[in-house]
Subunit: 307 residues, 4 copies
């Protein structure tokens, strides 16, 4: 298939949709981003890469980072972590406290904020220090993207911390249920730093290749996780990757994917390719409006689907 | 792969698990079933069938029927039905009223009871009569299973109706939100009849083939739905097919599947095969305990997965 | 105090408020009522009665009837009923299913619909028949109002039954939790008949005298319930009498009171008088807008309060 | 009435109940308290005081302090505060986040923790400083109790702060909804200091006299609030003073009252007396087990009730 032609078709068709929706405004540093931007990148297991739009432009990966910390934690913790974070869709918005209270502080899955905070907490405990843990996170992301220049934007993480009351509320609630080992403030701060990682669709699609290839980077040969672990991460992406629109995404796109409020979405076609799309304006579920549509067009045109 | 050997290995390994869990006791007619029973059937797109256990023994398919009415309704209604039933995981038990009230009578998905009732209601309206609608349902199931002898067990449906207060509550609640066209009692009665269909794993695995093959029966060539429709049904099965354990099922099994409180589970490997397993004792989520484990063993041994 | 002068002052001041709010429209037979109507009646323990407005005009008492069935049931059942219906404010709208599901079918109090249905159910069981139970209810209301001509409006109860899906949903839900002895449809039908009782503020204020006087009618000397029972009914009225605005009513009015969606409100000043006010247009909580304001003016002008 | 005899009767009868229930264990400094202790004090508007048990023994007043900060805030803020805190019973436990999230950060009433935090926040803003605010709170309590020696126990407040994750969660959640002006940590710290006030039943019953007498201390003549304000505070005590057992308390005791997890309860008979009872072991709702029973005995024996 001529993927470049497919991407260019999508790029043309998506123009009228750019800017529809709303840029995340609860993070001041993100609210200034131009909502008209768009990028779409794919890279196959053989390393053939295709791009349209602002594919080299960095943006804040936000919740996409949860995928990477989940991978890191999965490799380390195996069993014990499942007792602290489930793998069920939540049926509520990404930052809801309701379910967390009813379910005694155990988050439904690692992709809602509460779950991601527990994952980060577990990494801080494992690496014995929040700075060391964050170094490991950033190191892992650089490895899978095969780019040692990737870093985080301190303006974004500081801006989030100054307005991060809801995440602090979640963290303190879990601490009250004894489901957080470290100081809630430290955990939230580390979490905001991982969310503030700056990456382009080019780098993100590259970073997804290990999940397309059973846990091993097909280009460098580095093995990160096992094939069964990979399948499980992909399964959680499919059922929980888009918050309260995960079912819609599975229904309309049919690929494991994870979105972030920076407007990025990553996805994977198992055995075939890594995908990343970006457009900052969000739909009512907090997922990129144009990005979601573009992915839908991509599977319609390419016929790619796990179903 | 020697599927027969795989099934026999599973059959041997699963013995200690048989009878663990609890047979559905809220339906008196089902509570008498011997919990030790077990069957596992697969059939490939080429028609090669493999079985272990009581694969010819009929049981009550219960919620598996929702898959077939959803297929029928999808074909007929396209757009309008999505406004009445969503495609999101619910995050709550199969028969909860909480979410239904908060969301103004629109069920989360077609596989929770409320959603299945709306689907049945839409079929009654479409075929203008509950008897005609039920004839169509039974006819469709006979077609996809390629067995005109399949029928329903009136003792089971009567028994359910006599104890069906919660489903009547759901139906009346939706009626109060104007999301049911027909008399709530009639809808519930028709729904209980579809749940009371009697089938074996042999027949059910056969009945799944159209979903493994893009909507067309690979053995008879009959086309029921389009490939995109098929992918969407499979996506909904994956995200919503096991109630509040759908995420766990995706995580551990990684195949689109649908369970019923009769102890049956159906699943599909897109492009490859239809699967059905049965064992009456249920885990705490209302899914077959041994059936779920057997499927997990099957994917581990066969390496089959959509992820 | 010159109560007649106080009532006339209120009558003058309330004019601009008449018609503000919305007549209950989910009961077709009630939706036709002229929203401009208003009446205010009080009667002291000595039998001195004061009225303004349409005090002889009958209206549908609706939920005010719950007060009378609660009295009847309290007298009969003492302990056992408390296990089936609580005495706590609900914190949710009058007809919510959420709390009822979380709390396994036990209604929070006898003044939300679910609770009133259990009360009516208990009366049907006690009198062994829904017709006999309804005769007792109507007989009791005639006795306390000292008026044997009081009856119910079958057009209203029929209209409610035709649209009573939510109450049928509540009744079936409680039946599924085994907290209803009789057929849900029969219970709802009897409940709608008691709601359809037609009374004027003159009759309702008279009917409240036993609650102002420790359970004994001060004018006829008939003893209905004991002083402790009376105090308890008044306490439940205060904490639960206005659904999710009970706290507001206690805060602003400070008297035990009970409202109905027909626009009527009854209240009592223990040791002093029975009160009834009526105006059909409702505020957002389903309580009479002008009626609530008029009662607030009454306590401000008279200084009467239990606090 | 011979109140001393009544109290002594109660004291004898209550002996078998002492120690039943559980001392609050989530505050380490409180968990060490001897659960067998008991005290009951009343003081009439004329200053006649009656006591039994450990009436001079100080204990942690905990949530009873909410009554005093509410009084202070009511005097200052009138209207604007009602937009930030309601006056409705909550229908949920004292520290639940569920309702707070559904209702966008506006607490149901000033007596659940969230509401009390907003009240304290408003006092901090009004007095421009948390230390000044706390001085005012302590000064007000000393005035109404007519005892300048009253103080707080820093061991208790520190102990609460070290385990105050849930209150920090509530505070951050409200801050995220912009319903807290000051730093959440500062607000929670000030709140824990007010909760750690040490008082005896003798002092607490004395401190209640202004609420029995329309807002003016009947013994010193000091006017704190107006009669309508007093009635409103009493109304909120009755509907919300015992968390999710407020309806039960109104039903069985029938007086405005407020409990604390230190085992204290205060109550008031309008126009007659201030009451305080204490016994540390709590029932399942977090209210003093023996204290609640003793108050029930008191109203049964004295016939005092607002209903």
């Amino acid at each position: 298939m001529d993927y470049q032609a497919v991407l260019e078709e999508i790029y043309a068709e998506i123009q009228p949709e750019l800017g529809r929706g709303k840029v995340a405004d609860y993070i001041p540093a993100l609210s200034k981003v131009d909502p008209q931007q768009f990028a779409f990148s794919i890279i196959t297991e053989k390393g053939e890469a295709y791009h349209v739009g602002d594919a080299q432009k960095n943006f804040s990966i936000q919740s996409i980072s949860k995928l990477f910390t989940f991978t890191l934690a999965l490799d380390i913790y195996s069993k014990s972590l499942y007792e602290r974070v489930g793998v069920e869709p939540s049926g509520t918005p990404f930052n809801s406290l309701v379910q967390l209270e009813y379910e005694h502080g155990k988050p439904r899955n690692p992709f809602i904020n509460a779950g991601a905070l527990v994952i980060t907490d577990s990494l801080i405990s494992h690496y014995q220090d929040d700075y060391k843990a964050f170094e490991k996170i950033i190191g892992f992301i650089r490895d899978i993207a095969d780019d040692q220049s990737i870093s985080f934007d301190p303006e974004v993480s500081t801006s989030e911390m100054e307005n991060g009351y809801r995440n602090l509320s979640l963290a303190h609630l879990m601490k009250s249920f004894d489901n957080l080992d470290n100081d809630p403030r430290t955990v939230v701060q580390t979490y905001f730093k991982q969310c503030a990682m700056s990456m382009s669709t080019e780098k993100l699609s590259r970073a997804m290749l290990y999940l397309a290839n059973g846990g091993t980077d097909p280009l460098t040969g580095k093995k990160y996780i096992t094939p069964p672990q990979t399948r499980r991460i992909n399964a959680v992406m499919l059922t929980c990757g888009h918050y309260d629109a995960s079912g819609e995404f599975a229904f309309h796109v049919g690929l494991p994917g994870k979105s972030g409020v920076g407007g990025g979405i990553v996805a994977v076609v198992p055995g075939k390719m890594g995908i990343s799309v970006w457009s900052p304006a969000l739909n009512k579920y907090g997922n990129s409006h144009a990005g979601t549509l573009a992915l839908q067009k991509f599977v319609e045109k390419s016929g790619l689907s796990i179903f």
